[in-house]
Each structure stands twice: as structure tokens, then as C-alpha cells.
Amino acid sequence: MFRRINEKIIESCIKLSGLLVIIFVFLIFLFLLKDSISLFGQYPIGQFLFGRNWLPISEPPKFGIVPLLLGSIYVTIGAIVICVPFGVAAAMFIAEVAPGYLKHVLKSLIEILASIPSVVLGFIGIVWLGPFLRNTFGLKTGMCGLTGSLLLAFMALPTIISICEDALVGVPRTYKEAAFGLGATHWQTLWRIILPAASSGIIAAVMLGIGRVIGETMVVMMVTGNAPVIPKSILEPLRTLTATIAGEMGETVGGSEHYFALFAVGVVLFIITFMINLVADVCMRRAKK
């Protein structure tokens, strides 16, 4: 009898925990929304979304997120352009070419990369990569979008490699055997049959990589120069959505326009990553079929 009551309590806790996860997602969005709506009472939403000047301390302050949005986009595109080819290539190598022991070594190394904290990579960007790029390309400063893109590409590689590898390994063996039976070489099979068959998984990997890159804060805050202006090229300092929130939050007064504006930036960021993850999830679902 006593045991029965005990069990009922435990089972309620279990069901509550499942509920809690849903509650957290909603709460996060709600909190962001609540404080950013306070902004749009005083500041027109159109100027927020399409304004080309982010000047929170000018009189009157301007909260246009276009420079920040472009900063995030530049840095993301730069990173993806580098890490997708390398990531897919490495995934192909690990999944199909590398012999057993080498596979383990490589996967361990990728796991090591995945565990390096972002602030450490940011640190390396400041002390080595930034100066290196400045000297090599004769830039005015090494704290620019390119430095960020390179480091972000490095950071996103484990995500892309592991999901692509799963996708490649998940292609049914019968495809491979059929191709070999017809006389194709390993490479021909890989390039023409396995890779296309794994395409949903690879797209999912790319989307998750994009999501990871857009959401990264510390690396971009430390190496991209923190200049909230519309960047003319990736070789100039810029500012991302994430770095804006992290960098300016400490300087705002609670309840001020600036404070609410940062939450509004958070909402934009949340929506963007939400959409990206939704697409990635759909692709993963399709890949598992």
C-alpha cells in the first residue's frame, strides 16, 4: 500500500520531467519575446529589422540590425565554404577509405577537436591566427571576419564530419555490393552511388553546421573586431548578432531601450537557429528512412 503511493509519486515526477522540457523551450522564447516587445513600443520594428545603423549610444540611439545580420551571414558563409568541402571529404575518407585502426584514431582526434572550448580557440585567434593573417595578407588588422570564419569552420568540423559519416555508413550495403557486382571501382561507387544516397544526411549535417556557426559567441566576440558596421568585405572587422548581445549586455541599464534591443536581437537569433534546426531535423528524418 505504502509502496503503491510511493510509485505514484515517482511516476508523477517522471511525467512532469517530460513536460519540463517542453516548458523550457516555450519559456525561453517567451522571455525573449516579452522583453523585446518592450522595445517595439518605443522603437519602430521596421527600423529595427531594416535599419543599417547600429548605434546604441548615439542621441537618438539607432537599433538597426542589418550590420549585425550581415556580420553573422558573412562569417557563416565564410565558415561553411571552408568546412563543408573539408568535412565531407574527411567523412568520406573515414567512412570508406581509412583502415580500421586509422578510423579509430581519426575519430578520436575529431572528438578531441569537438571538446576544445570555444574560448580557447578565440584565444588562439587573438595570439596567433589574427597576427598571422594580418602579416600574410597585409591587412590593417587581424581581427576581422576572415579570422572568425576560419576558426568557426574549424569548430563546426566535428559536427559536419560525424553526421556525414553516420549518413554514409547508413547507406544500405546492398547498394555498394550491387555496384561492385557491376564492376565499379570503390571510388566510382562512393562518388556516384553512396554519396547521393546519403544526401539528406549530408544536407542535415550542413544545416546543423550552419546552426552551430551562427550561434557561436565567444570566438566571434574575441576575433572579429567588434565593429557593428556593414562590412565591405570579409577582411574587415565586423560584428555578429551573438557578439552584440554578449558584448553590450554588460553596458546596458536594465529596462532601458538598449536593454530591450538586445533581447530583440536575441529573438531574431532564436528564430533563425530554430528554423535552421527544423530544416535539419526534417532532413535527418528523411535520411533515416
Partner: protein, 282 residues
């Protein structure tokens, strides 16, 4: 050798080179930090507080702070994560609510860390009036760690053979008895591995603790869960961006200690995984 085989050799070579170009920077990165930092990682460095505006002394409070935050994160994320996973695997029916829960887990894992920081700030620091504290920081990191723990627990539970549950039910055990005696004990290795992994990530995170707990300079150790603490990732961030004329060896040493801490935790998780795989009970 025909054309197709030549093309294959070239293609595989390209793939190998691409992989090498990834692997070499990984090794160089580790090597770079270790080489430049290890000379400054002395016993005093690890056990003393920073002095002279961080330019001298050690990082002891930051190490303690990180460890405290990791423990706090585990205390909050482990129970909720494991119970949620138990719900998903053992209780959930195939309906809309279950799909919503699974979708929420996926969403939580894709949220940028700075958004967690904002959320933690609004909910824990402001609304619940916890102030910037160990409590607020741990709760924030815990929510961030949930997806990893839930996923790892879920996989561990699903890997327990169904026959165990069937045997237990057929002998007249209730659902919770079955989970507690016939499923959970065999899922513990997977749960443990996943937990240590998620905690190693929490140890290295900066963005969620920026507004919820991190202190720039706090030489004394925390006295209660409502205190702020220093933390290794935040410390590395501040000394590399906000302290002028910072001696390089100390910065590298801080990075070295942070990487070492994260690596040790990862190693523990790997060792656990290997140990339990050897003991394979079924």
C-alpha cells in the same frame, strides 16, 4: 592500371590530404597551447589567487569556481534529464505530446549558448531573484546540458533488451519496479558516459555564465550558493581581451589548465565506456 583505378587513386589521395589538413591543425593547436603554457603551470599557479590585476599569481579561484559550477550543473541536470528520458522510453505513448517532447529536446540542443545566458539572466538572476550566483549559473548550464543527458540516457535505456522487461512483468512486477530493478541498473554505464561528456562541455562554456555567475576578480572562495565565482573560461576571456600587458605565459597556462580539465573529463567518459563495454553482461 586502367583509367578508372588511376582516378580512384587520385581521388582517395585528395580525401586523405583533406583529412590531414584537418588533423594537423588539431594536433598543432594542442601542441601550441601546451608548449607555451606548460612552463607557467606550477603548483603555485594552480593554488594561488591572481594578483596585480591578473598579471601575477595563480588561477585557483577560477579552478574552484569551474568545479563548483560543474557539480551544480550535474545536481540539476542529471535527475531531470534521466527522468525525462525514462518518460520518453518507458511511459510515452505514440501521440502528439510525445512528439512534442522529442521536438523540444532537439530544439534545446540547437539553441545558441548566449540565448541560454539571456534566459538564465532573466529567469534566475532577475525573476527568481537569485542574483548573479552559483545557483543561477548552475541552473542555466543545467538546462543547456539537458539534451545531451536525455539523448544518452534514452540510448542507454533502449539498448537494454526488451526481454528483461518482459521477464519482470511476467513475474508480476509493476512498471516502476521493472524500470528500477531490470532496466535502470543496466543503463547506468550509458547514462554515466553521457553525463560526464555533457559536464565536460559545461565546464568549457563561457556565454551562459557571462551574466549569470561569472565574476571578473574574486580572490576568495565562494561562501554560499548565492555568491559569484570566477570560472576558467571566463577568466581566459577577460585576460586575453581586457587586461593590457598581460604576460603571455599566464594566458597560455590558463588555456592549458582549461583544456586539461576538459580533456580529463572526456578521458574519464571514454574509460567508463570502454570498461563497461568489456563487462558486457548480455
Amino acid at each position: 592500371m586502367n583509367a578508372a583505378r588511376i582516378r580512384q587513386k587520385i581521388a582517395f589521395l585528395v580525401l586523405a590530404i583533406a583529412t590531414l589538413l584537418i588533423v594537423i591543425p588539431i594536433l598543432l593547436t594542442i601542441f601550441y597551447i601546451v608548449k607555451n603554457g606548460i612552463s607557467a603551470v606550477t603548483w603555485t599557479f594552480i593554488t594561488q589567487s591572481p594578483r596585480n590585476g591578473m598579471k601575477e599569481g595563480g588561477i585557483f579561484p577560477a579552478i574552484v569556481g569551474t568545479i563548483v559550477l560543474v557539480i551544480g550543473t550535474m545536481l540539476f541536470s542529471l535527475p531531470v534529464g534521466v527522468l525525462s528520458a525514462i518518460y520518453l522510453v518507458e511511459y510515452a505513448k505514440d501521440n502528439f505530446f510525445t512528439r512534442l517532447v522529442k521536438l523540444s529536446v532537439v530544439n534545446l540542443s540547437g539553441i545558441p549558448s548566449i540565448i541560454y545566458g539571456l534566459f538564465g539572466f532573466t529567469l534566475f538572476v532577475l525573476l527568481m531573484k537569485l542574483g548573479t550566483s552559483i545557483l543561477a549559473g548552475s541552473l542555466t548550464l543545467a538546462i543547456m546540458s539537458l539534451p545531451v543527458i536525455i539523448t544518452a540516457t534514452k540510448e542507454a535505456l533502449e539498448s537494454v533488451p526488451f526481454s528483461f522487461r518482459e521477464i519482470s512483468f511476467s513475474l508480476g512486477a509493476t512498471k516502476w519496479q521493472t524500470i528500477r530493478y531490470c532496466v535502470l541498473p543496466y543503463a547506468i554505464p550509458g547514462i554515466l558516459t553521457g553525463t560526464v561528456l555533457s559536464l565536460s562541455r559545461a565546464a568549457g562554456e563561457t556565454a551562459p555564465i557571462l551574466f549569470t555567475v561569472a565574476a571578473f576578480y574574486l580572490p576568495r572562495l565562494p561562501r554560499s550558493v548565492f555568491d559569484q565565482v570566477m570560472a576558467l573560461p571566463y577568466h581566459l576571456y577577460t585576460i586575453s581581451t581586457q587586461v593590457p600587458n598581460m604576460p603571455m605565459e599566464l594566458s597560455f597556462a590558463t588555456g592549458f589548465v582549461l583544456i586539461a580539465l576538459v580533456f580529463i573529463m572526456n578521458l574519464v567518459s571514454i574509460i567508463l565506456r570502454a570498461h563497461y563495454r568489456k563487462k558486457k553482461l548480455w
